[in-house]
């Protein structure tokens, strides 16, 4: 059974019909690359999966947690779904280590020593153990984003949502972040990534989902879709990126 199941999802922003009936199943361990023009609804779709956006119609299920339009157990859901943001959003008043430790202590009620061990493990995984006591403003963008990944991983999520996580980075810093994501993918993490990095999507993605005007327009194997887009919209989109 799929880890993430989305059925008939509709969302409006006021009178703007942003998601017009999304059906999507994601198996455990899959890496989904969500692409499309700005305004296509891809970020909105991502944000409904962890409840940052509400929806009016349809259903979403993540590892047994149901999301309802009106009432969802967000606390339970968000322990299974992690998110990485374009702007990193590290907590500036806390050290790197404390950033990673915070949620495990406050939400999972893990003791200080154990939380610290988990944090060190995660920071080691993203290659930043030596920055444990540093503060976010002392780090480069790429480093901050890797800390953000460590922070999300500390909660041991089943799914990681990545919202254009390299778009705010200087080009030379993009690779260090993508390298971490590649490792996670190889280890079997389920990833849903809104991204503009087409090369990465082709290399690492198991499935490409192209969104257009609030609908899934085309989806399938990344290599095949890039080589042979079935619809003119996707062809145009690929053309405009190159």
């Amino acid at each position: 059974m799929a880890l993430v199941r989305i059925n008939g999802l509709h969302k409006h922003f006021g009178s703007n019909h942003v998601l017009k009936g999304i059906d999507l199943d994601i198996e455990e361990g899959q890496v989904i690359a969500l692409i499309g023009r700005s305004g296509s609804g891809k970020s909105t779709l991502l944000r409904t999966i962890n409840g940052l956006e509400t929806f009016e119609q349809g259903e979403i299920e993540v590892d047994g947690e149901h999301l309802h339009p009106r009432d969802t157990d967000l606390r339970a859901l968000r322990q299974k779904v992690g998110m990485i943001f374009q702007q990193f959003n590290l907590f500036p008043h806390l050290s790197v280590g404390r950033n990673v430790m915070l949620a495990t202590q406050v939400v999972k009620k893990i003791g200080e020593k154990e939380a610290e061990d988990i944090a060190r493990t995660m920071l080691l995984k993203v290659g930043l153990l030596e920055k444990f006591d540093a503060y976010p403003d002392q780090l480069s963008g790429g480093q901050q984003q890797r800390v953000a990944i460590a922070r999300a991983l500390a909660m041991q999520p089943r799914v990681l949502l990545c919202d254009e996580i390299t778009s705010a980075l200087d080009p030379e810093l993009v690779n260090e972040v993508l390298a971490v994501v590649k490792t996670l993918a190889a280890e079997g993490m389920t990833l849903i990534m809104v991204t503009h990095e087409m090369r990465f999507a082709r290399e690492v993605g198991d499935k490409l989902v192209f969104m257009h005007h609030g609908r899934i327009h085309e989806s399938g194997d990344p290599q095949q879709l890039f080589a042979n887009p079935q619809t003119p919209e996707l062809a145009n989109f690929i053309g405009s990126i190159n």
């Binding site: 967000l74 606390r75 339970a76 992690g82 998110m83 702007q87 500036p92 915070l102 939400v107």
Partner: protein
């Protein structure tokens, strides 16, 4: 004819100044506590506390402090309570302070970037946990300068309480000016007294504004 020396005048003014300081501290501390409650009400999920808090703030910011004091002073006797000018002054200035501090602090909380709310929400923190661990620590850093800045308004506000009979620096000055027929000297000293109290606070607030960059813990 009274033969009151300059030293007598200064001594009496210092006495009045002590009462000014006492009232200011009382109003600031109690007003701060009430202001914190107002802050939580203002950003609450439910519309009722939000609406009530907003109304409270608009009333206290949109009416003269003198009128607020009069209403408390005369209203209390309607309730059968005989309150002294000190109690009326403390109560009035406390409510006044709470409205302004609550609003200042709300502005500081709202200036914490939205991404901080989203990131902490994504980590499954509850609203209260978000406030306690992520939002308030950052908001407090931003709030220090305007809070110290407002303390100047509190000290200046104590002068109005002289009108309902509370004997602080201004009232003492008025009485002395009448007794000595030297209003220029007396009110000049009164002004200097307030200046001595307020200027350090103003200068400190400006210093804080220049030096707090908002993010670092140290």
């Amino acid at each position: 004819m009274n033969d009151i020396s300059t030293w007598d005048i200064v001594r009496n003014l210092l006495d009045g100044a002590l009462w000014t300081i006492g009232l200011s501290l009382t109003a600031f501390v109690l007003g701060g506590i009430a202001g914190l409650a107002l802050l939580f009400a203002r950003i609450a999920k439910h519309s009722i506390p939000r609406f009530l808090a907003k109304g409270y703030i608009e009333v206290f910011q949109g009416t003269p402090l003198l009128m607020q004091l009069f209403i408390i002073f005369f209203g209390s006797s309607l309730l059968g309570l005989e309150i002294s000018p000190w109690i009326a002054a403390a109560l009035g200035l406390t409510l006044f302070t709470s409205a302004y501090l609550g609003e200042i602090w709300r502005g500081c909380v709202e200036s914490v970037p939205k991404g901080q709310w989203e990131a902490s929400a994504s980590l499954a923190l509850t609203h209260f946990e978000q406030m306690r661990h992520v939002i308030l620590p950052q908001a407090m850093r931003i709030a220090i300068a305007p809070t110290v800045g407002f303390s100047v308004q509190v000290v200046k506000g104590t002068a109005v309480t002289s009108i309902i009979g509370f004997v602080e620096l201004t009232k003492t000055g008025s009485m002395l000016a009448n007794a000595t027929f030297q209003p220029f000297m007396v009110f000049g000293c009164v002004a200097l007294g307030y200046f001595a109290l307020c200027y350090p606070l103003s200068a400190y607030s400006r210093y804080l504004e220049r030096n707090i960059h908002g993010s670092r813990a140290h």
